[in-house]
């Protein structure tokens, strides 16, 4: 299990990175944290002819929070996002979800943007980006575009990045006022890819009734699936909402696949269980935040 040979590039700027990407085209692959790519290379399931190590490119190690949201640069490690108090204040879902990404040691090296670019439907962070309507900033020589999660995730392990493009950052919008979020997943072992995972977001109206309820799913289908379950929640206060109705609605709309760890039917069942759990918790958090009159949220690490 040794990686195949490749030509190594370590550009010292983003511009240089883009030049190398333009030259290497489909033969090139960006190396940030490498926590998904290198295992594939060690198993010789991936054999890029060129690896472009962006860790020395400069300017990509930026983690910026504002009241609007969190911008995460391409080489920012997951562990940093997980621990950052400002990130947690602005968008707590990032900490909750990142805590489920593999193990702490892997998160010390793995990057948030790398997880997104890897576009694994079993990944937690793609689901979070999709749920929050976040965006990815993509640049190439002489061009720059902002891509929504929906457009970015093209299929299992497939993003809409062109060979000459670099994802330089991701933007996760802040948790709105009178809103709460939650993340839950069932994995065979702690730290494994989820058999099924769910990220939920509940927003309340002025009367503290459920105005919007959305859930994004992990390991259910080829892409992160986002369902709007507002109708099924019935516009009641979170405490009076029967979340199992949302769960049933979700089960009816999802079409999960099977693998050696779970049948499609079990996944569908879990998706419902997790739907009720995350919406229930997100609803309670939204209610707590609204009642306390500020955007503060309580909750432990996960």
């Amino acid at each position: 299990m040794k990686p195949p040979p490749f030509t190594y590039h370590s550009p010292s700027s983003v511009e240089e990175t883009l030049d190398v990407l333009a030259e290497t085209g489909t033969d090139g692959k960006v190396l940030a944290g490498g926590q998904s790519l290198i295992p594939l290379m060690n198993m010789r399931l991936a054999a890029p002819a060129h690896l472009i190590d962006i860790n020395g490119a400069g300017g990509l190690d930026v983690l910026r929070t504002s009241d609007d949201g969190v911008r995460v640069g391409a080489t920012v490690r997951q562990a940093r996002v997980e621990r950052d108090a400002e990130v947690f204040r602005v968008q707590p879902l990032l900490r909750w979800a990142t805590g489920f990404v593999a193990h702490p040691v892997v998160r010390n090296r793995g990057t948030v943007v790398g997880s997104l670019a890897h576009a694994d439907p079993a990944g937690e962070l793609p689901a979070v980006l999709a749920l929050l309507d976040g965006t990815i900033e993509v640049v190439s020589r002489g061009a720059r575009r902002t891509v929504t999660g929906r457009d970015f995730f093209a299929g299992p392990l497939e993003s809409s990045l062109e060979p000459d493009e670099l994802a330089v950052s991701a933007f996760f919008p802040a948790l709105p006022d009178r809103a709460g979020a939650s993340f839950a997943e069932v994995a065979r072992r702690h730290g494994d890819f989820a058999v099924c995972g769910a990220a939920g977001l509940v927003e309340l109206d002025d009367d503290l009734r459920v105005a919007a309820a959305r859930v994004a799913y992990v390991s259910v289908g080829p892409n992160p699936v986002v369902l709007d379950l507002t109708e099924a929640c019935g516009h009641r206060s979170p405490g009076a909402t029967d979340w199992t109705r949302a769960a049933d609605a979700a089960r009816g709309r999802l079409d999960p696949g099977a693998d050696i760890h779970a049948s499609a039917e079990y996944r569908r069942h879990l998706a419902g269980v997790l739907t009720a759990r995350v919406l229930g918790e997100a609803g309670a958090r939204a209610h707590g935040a609204a009642a306390s009159g500020d955007g503060a949220h309580s909750g432990a690490l996960r």
Binding site: M1, K2, P3, P4, P5, F6, T7, Y8, S10, L31, G34, Q35, I38, P39, N42, M43, L51, D53, N55, A79, A102, H103, P104, V105, V106, N108, R109, H190, G191
Partner: protein, 174 residues
């Protein structure tokens, strides 16, 4: 077909080291075979078992999921760097011995490195040591096939006690 070879300079256990290796050389193999530091073990080469864990600039990482060339100019700490300069065992190592936290010893270096960072971080946060939950989370990326983890968990708490007993003497950066 011949590969480009890189001069790879980095600091290992406080000592500047260098060796020549192709870009694809994994950091784990570089440490073991190019620098002769065979204490870092390789158990799966896909980042799951944790045997190859080393500190990179103080943070535990999988050395099998990193190319040596990417570690240029960084500081790496391996199990060989966890003891005292006189060859004595460090507090985490002593705790593992006291608690019988190893059997075959193959996974042990990875645990020692991960636990060193875990206890250090808890103490840096002003606490006596990690909580039971933090211990489980902190070692959750390391597989052990021999011990059933019972005595490893004990050893992590014991390591925190030993560090507290010895204070700054052992508690600093490894």
């Amino acid at each position: 077909m011949s590969e480009d070879v890189y001069e790879i300079r980095l600091t290992v256990n406080g000592v500047p080291r260098s060796a020549r290796a192709p870009a694809r050389r994994l950091l784990s193999d570089f440490l073991r075979h190019d620098l002769g530091l065979t204490g870092t073990h390789v158990g799966c080469e896909h980042g799951v078992c944790g045997c190859c864990t080393v500190l990179l600039d103080g943070a535990p990482v999988r050395s099998c999921l990193m190319f040596a060339v990417s570690a240029r100019a960084h500081e790496v700490t391996t199990v060989e760097g966890l003891g005292g300069p006189d060859g004595s065992l460090g507090p985490v190592q002593r705790a593992f011995q006291e608690c019988h936290a190893l059997q075959c010893g193959f996974c042990t270096p990875g645990f020692l490195v991960a636990v060193t960072a875990l206890v250090r971080d808890a103490r840096a946060a002003g606490r006596a040591g990690p909580t039971e939950e933090e211990v489980l989370e902190g070692i959750s990326g390391n597989l052990c096939r021999c011990t059933g983890y019972q005595n490893i968990v004990k050893a992590v708490h014991r390591a925190a006690d030993l560090m507290a007993e010895h204070g700054a003497e052992d508690g600093g950066e490894p």
